[in-house]
Amino acid sequence: MLQVLFNSLVYASMIAVIAVGVSLCYSILRFANFAHIQFAVVGGYLTYSFAAIPGLPLPAAMALSAVATGLIAVLVDFLVFSRLRDITPEGKMIVSWGVALFIRSVVAIVYGGGGRSFDLSYEVVLVGDAVFTTLDALVVAVAAVLMLLLHLFLNFTRVGSGLRALASNADLAVTRGIPGDRLVRLMWFLSGALAATGGTLLALETRLQPNMDLIILLPVFAAVTIGGLSSVFGAVIGALVLSLAQNLLIYIDFGALLGGESWQVPTQFRDYVAVLALVVVLLLRPRLSPLVGR
């Protein structure tokens, strides 16, 4: 069971760092941004490229990738979404699909179809029968630090308060002198940078591959839906709950439980937990309330 907790924590860490960006965007611009997933993919690939520069350590490559992806997110807003502020959320959501497909194609052109992996060395740590690696510990630590910093930023800085005010009531906030456009650009930058870091953590743990976006799409949106679309804190909780449910499902030996031969749910079915979570939450919580800004 300890193993389930380890696995859940690692997976939730990667998903949460990506998911908070979806929540940030939804809370301020009120639409589900599917292009956000591509920022994670772009971030992973950019870190891979930066890490190939001789003498550049991985943390520096990650930081560069986060900044570059943040700027790409700002550019996407400038070119596309800033011109569509007044259309319906559904319209923006559909446009975000288009943007996602465009970015996907660009990534495919630049990096091609093959998978890529980071060449890392790390230790395996045994705790009883449970196993984790020093890389796992690092991923969880990076995610925890980022979430803590984001929390402090949103709640204890003047700019963070401005963002929360925008999320709570954009018109009123702007009337009261809060620079709405600048803060929206900041939100895009933060979302892009966080997605890039989450994508990099995922790539470090697994591998970069062209269909990485489809692999993370479902868990990320399930996590933010479970936690409340516009809640940054909720996205983290959502990621943890989802990850725990997914890992429990594939861990339990249902065959032995029923007194027969050992049988576990094949791991590819863990994504159906995300689908189930989405359905249940959407059925039970038709009205989602924003927590940010409260």
Partner: protein, 373 residues
């Protein structure tokens, strides 16, 4: 001017007289279906080069009964539908009596169905699914099927003294074919399979899949795979702290993720026989035609042997009709000693008792430590 025209006319006549016999001989057209633009192109190109080398050798020696061999190469794009389109074109439009194909069983089986329906010959150089044995008289394999290689793998594991084994393979015809044959051979020798993991390919990480192997602590892990998925599988094994030895079918097609993790811990069986004189001669031809042998892969030998046995069958039958080729193929193969060693077919035209190399991964490279059969 008149003199010049006369001279030119006479020269043309003389040239035609010199080239006459060669032009008069109708070429024998043989089809080649390979993945030339899809994913994992390199292996297909290697096989095609092997076929080209064989065609060069046949034509340099005067062709088949004076008729040159002409290859018609079609692209499968590594997709079943495109492979079928290619086969349709070759069998229906070009009307080739036989085609040589490189592709997985997902492509090979539909094309075999078509070849059977059309009454043509298909020579398999790459696929190893035991289901390919269902097309006797149509499909002939230069590559031994997975049940043969899997059995050899199981026997090798039993010989190593291992008592327990876990299976970790992709949930594919290839993975399960190898696993089942290896497990049967291992268990027949008293071994015990303590866990079986068949993971779905294409996922980014297989740690959760392989996790159940950790507590059962097997002596060895039976595996098979290739490409990115094999890399992710081995990575998961390392991250889970597995200390068991890995035994793989065709270990050299695994993508090694971490040399230190597998040095002295990865063993397996692979098709062999290339080190003999016939194989070396093909390697020399390859080096001369394609600027060295640095990129030469075993697939060259399979392509080479495929066309050579077809040519021998046409020669023996005295006809390039598909039925005559299909009938003559098993007869000529019994005395053919090729680039992939001696070819022995069962009644279905599937290769048995192939030369098997025992492989060990050490010092960051694959080394052949013994040869079986």
């Amino acid at each position: 001017m008149k003199n010049f025209l006369s001279l030119a006319f006479c020269s043309a006549l003389a040239l035609a007289a010199v080239q006459g016999p060669a032009l008069a001989a109708d070429p024998i057209e043989i089809g080649v279906i390979a993945n030339l633009t899809g994913s994992a192109v390199k292996t297909s190109v290697q096989m095609t080069r092997g076929v080209e080398l064989a065609a060069d050798a046949i034509n340099a020696a005067g062709g088949i009964d004076g008729r040159p061999v002409k290859l018609i190469v079609e692209d499968s794009e590594n997709r079943a539908q495109e492979a079928l389109n290619a086969a349709n074109k070759l069998y229906n439009v070009d009307k080739v009596p036989a085609a040589i194909m490189f592709g997985g069983s997902g492509l090979m089986i539909p094309v075999a169905e078509l070849a059977k329906e059309k009454g043509r010959v298909l020579v398999n150089t790459s696929s190893s699914s035991p289901k390919l044995g269902n097309y006797p008289g149509t499909l002939f394999s230069i590559l031994p099927l997975d049940d043969i290689v899997g059995k050899e793998l199981g026997l090798l594991i039993a010989d190593s003294g291992a008592k327990t084994a876990a299976i970790v393979v992709p949930n594919s015809t290839f993975g399960l074919g190898v696993a089942d044959a290896a497990a049967a051979a291992f268990e027949a020798k008293g071994g015990k399979i303590v866990k079986k993991v068949a993971f779905t390919e294409g996922q980014p990480d297989y740690r959760a899949d392989i996790q159940p192997v950790v507590p059962v602590k097997p002596d060895v892990i039976i595996t098979a795979g290739y490409g990115d998925d094999s890399r992710a599988m081995l990575k998961a094994g390392r991250e889970l702290g597995l200390t068991a030895k890995w035994y793989a079918a065709y270990p050299s097609i695994l993508e090694i993720e971490n040399k230190d993790f597998l040095n002295g811990k990865l063993f397996g069986v692979d098709n062999g026989g290339y080190a003999q004189a016939a194989g070396k001669a093909v390697a020399d031809k390859y080096g001369a035609k394609f600027n060295g042998t640095a990129d030469l892969m075993a697939h060259v030998y399979y392509g080479y042997d495929a066309l050579m046995v077809i040519a021998a069958a046409i020669r023996k039958a005295g006809s390039a009709e598909p039925a005559a080729i299909a009938k003559a193929l098993p007869e000529v193969v019994s005395s053919y000693d090729g680039a992939t060693g001696k070819i022995v077919w069962d009644a279905r035209g599937q290769r048995i008792s192939p030369p098997i190399d025992v492989i060990e991964y050490k010092a960051g490279d694959f080394a052949t430590t013994a040869t079986r059969n």
